[in-house]
């Protein structure tokens, strides 16, 4: 039996398939303007990728901000349970999950069976979310996926004191004007985001082993900043971005 999970995030749409309780395939595209179209496309492409037909998929669970728009899903579930389930599926020892998404960042505490024990999400503001990093990358004229490389070259990270993304951006602009090294500013941005995430992790009393999921997990400097802040080991798998979709597929198999 094949099950599918579709995760429509604010930036990217992800699909995952599982067969006989094993990961069968994944796919990522950008969401664009129309989340429903993105859902259809990512699902179609993942099926094409491993050459199976839609009718062979027994059940679909959708998640992410656009979850409700995926009208062909059998059920919608939140990113929290999907990321928790996905993380447990990939590594059953995991107790802590940190997910930095486009609009939301979250810390999830799992029990030994992979059930959600507690979770905390960012408050209404964008501080500590993927959007924060995007805004800063834009202000510094750096591609989002290069942020980590820049941060790794810093010698003395700048101190960003504003919490608010808008104020932090003007703070960064004044640092640019004061000719701070771009690498240092970027490292400061990572530390600032890590400080926000650390609050969420503390709220749920996160336990090790901790893994990081979501698109931002590809950024090694972010993981390093989080490790430093939380004082614990944090790893990220190759499929961190697809983790929510994987969890959704696992949950589809339990429907």
């Amino acid at each position: 039996m094949i099950y599918a999970g579709i995760d429509i995030g604010s930036n990217t749409a992800k699909a995952a398939l599982i067969k006989n309780n094993k990961l069968f395939g994944t796919h990522v595209i950008s969401t664009g303007y129309n989340p429903l179209k993105a859902g259809i496309k990512v699902f179609k492409e993942v099926l094409e990728k491993i050459d199976i037909l839609k009718r062979n998929v027994t059940a679909i669970v959708s998640t992410g901000y656009g979850r409700a728009t995926v009208d062909f899903a059998d059920k919608t579930m939140t990113e929290i349970i999907c990321h928790g389930t996905g993380a447990h599926f990939m590594n059953s020892k995991v107790r802590g999950v940190i997910d930095i998404g486009g609009q939301d960042s979250k810390a999830i505490l799992l029990d030994k069976n992979g059930n959600i024990e507690n979770f905390a999400m960012n408050d209404k503001c964008a501080a500590g979310t993927g959007r924060f990093l995007e805004v800063m990358a834009h202000a510094l004229e750096v591609n989002l996926d290069q942020l980590g490389d820049f941060a790794n070259k810093a010698d003395s990270p700048s101190k960003i004191s504003s919490i608010c993304t808008v104020f932090a951006e003007s703070e960064v602009i004044s640092m640019i004007a004061a000719q701070h090294k771009r690498e240092n500013i970027i490292a400061g941005i990572h530390e600032s985001a890590a400080a926000r995430i650390a609050i969420l992790a503390a709220k749920v009393k996160i336990k090790e082993p901790v893994i990081m999921t979501g698109g931002v997990a590809k950024n090694k400097a972010m993981i390093a900043a989080l490790k430093k802040r939380l004082g614990c080991e944090i790893t990220a798998g190759k499929l961190s971005q697809e983790n929510g979709a994987i969890g959704a597929a696992v949950l589809a198999s339990r429907l």
Partner: protein, 413 residues
């Protein structure tokens, strides 16, 4: 097995007393709006203020906070709040205050503004904002303002606090005599006091009916039916209405009529409601088969019953009004929450971190920790505002509620 209650029509589920309540509230506001023509005086009073002496003196009490809640429920909050901001008030100021202050100038809102007050009665047992808010209104309407200062009982109601507040209650009576140019009617006060206690006892019983499974009403209904215990406390009207409402609830329990079709999960709510999103929130929970069975907010209008002496009402005012939910220490608040969790047997606790209401929202983190530790139930905190929808993000709140319900469902399996 098909739940018996799910067969019952939505019509049967509706609470019949709601219609009567609407009529009573319409009459009340009409009386208040035409007070001048009937040579009656109007006093504006804070929601936690001692209203009974006003009723005893035949003064019509009007509640700007109740009015602001109506503004919120009519989805007129954003417009009036931003008008107050245009006048120079900070967007960080309480949205009840902003809505009321601008409404006084522009005569907006569902009623076209409240009747002009002859006096203002401000009790700071609910917050400190009311002090400045009422000073602003006293200047605008050029009317006398009475302030009843009730110190926070962090750990206890000390003899010093008692003496201090009791002295002010005496001043309150003198203030009323001066404004009305009439002697205070102590005999009437005894009757009004008894009626106020009776209404509060009935209110408590009504709220307690939701301990029944399934619950005959929800906190969303309590938010609505609350209006009378706030505005008409001390009148026969309130006692008669709540007697009927209690009967209706008891009948619903007998007939197994639940407020939501298929109650599986029971939740407790903290802080004021989101007046402009009541329907959305109530549907949201109902879709999860969850019923908000109780809340800390509507309970506040009967939580001081222990300190009220119906045979010596006037002398017990000081203590009863000083020891209300928002004017006590965090530990005591947490104890009340824990008692409610037990009494109503809830599966989860939702805290509304209310941008407007600082005294209600400050300390929520501590209460959250205490509840998680002692009651071991999931707690969710959502950020919003009671009247200003600009501080509310539907998709963010939706994800958090959905995730919270997933945890509750996972735990119950």
């Amino acid at each position: 097995m098909q739940d018996k209650s799910s067969d019952k029509s939505a019509e049967k589920r509706k609470i019949k007393s709601a219609k009567i309540m609407r009529e009573i509230m319409t009459t009340y506001y009409l009386d208040a709006l035409t007070a001048g023509q009937n040579s009656k005086q109007v006093a504006w009073i804070t929601s936690g203020g001692p209203v009974e002496p006003l009723v005893a003196m035949d003064i019509i009490p009007v509640y700007p906070e109740n009015h602001s809640a109506m503004i919120g429920a009519s989805k007129m909050g954003e417009d009036l709040c931003s008008k107050a901001e245009d006048m120079g008030y900070s967007s960080d100021l309480c949205s009840y205050a902003r809505a009321d202050i601008s409404c006084s100038i522009v005569k907006g809102g569902p009623l076209g503004g409240l009747p002009k007050p002859d006096m203002l009665i401000c009790c700071n047992n609910i917050c400190g904002t009311v002090l400045k808010w009422y000073e602003i209104q006293a200047r605008l309407y050029k009317v006398p303002l009475f302030i009843l200062d009730t110190p926070v009982c962090h750990t206890q109601y000390s003899p010093e606090i008692a003496k201090y507040v009791q002295a002010q209650v005496k001043e309150y009576i003198i203030f009323l005599e001066k404004i009305t140019k009439r002697d205070f009617d102590y005999d009437r006060m005894v009757k009004v006091g008894k009626l106020a206690v009776e209404a509060q006892k009935l209110w408590k019983k009504i709220l307690n009916t939701t301990a029944n499974k399934p619950s005959p009403m929800s906190a969303f209904d309590a938010f609505f039916f609350l209006a009378l215990i706030v505005t008409l406390r001390g009148t026969q009207t309130a006692v008669d209405f709540y007697t009927k409402l209690l009967e209706e609830m008891e009948q619903r329990i007998k007939e197994d009529i639940s407020i939501i079709p298929d109650e599986k999960y029971r939740l407790l709510w903290d802080n004021l409601p989101l007046w402009y999103q009541l329907k959305w929130l109530s549907n949201k929970f109902s879709d999860h088969n969850a019923c908000l069975v109780a809340d800390t907010y509507t309970t506040a209008w009967c939580s001081a019953l222990n300190y009220t002496d119906e045979n010596d009402f006037l002398n017990s005012i000081a203590q009863a009004y000083t020891r209300i939910y928002l004017n006590i220490g965090i530990d005591q608040m947490a104890d009340q929450v824990l008692d409610m969790i037990k009494f109503y047997d809830v599966d989860g606790f939702i805290m509304h971190s209310n941008r407007s209401c600082k005294p209600y929202s400050f300390g929520q983190m501590d209460i959250m920790k205490i509840v998680q530790e002692k009651a071991k139930i999931p707690v969710l905190m959502i950020e919003a505002d009671m009247v200003d929808p600009r501080s509310f993000s539907q998709s963010q709140v939706e994800t958090r509620i959905d995730a919270f319900m997933e945890i509750i469902k996972q735990r119950s399996n």
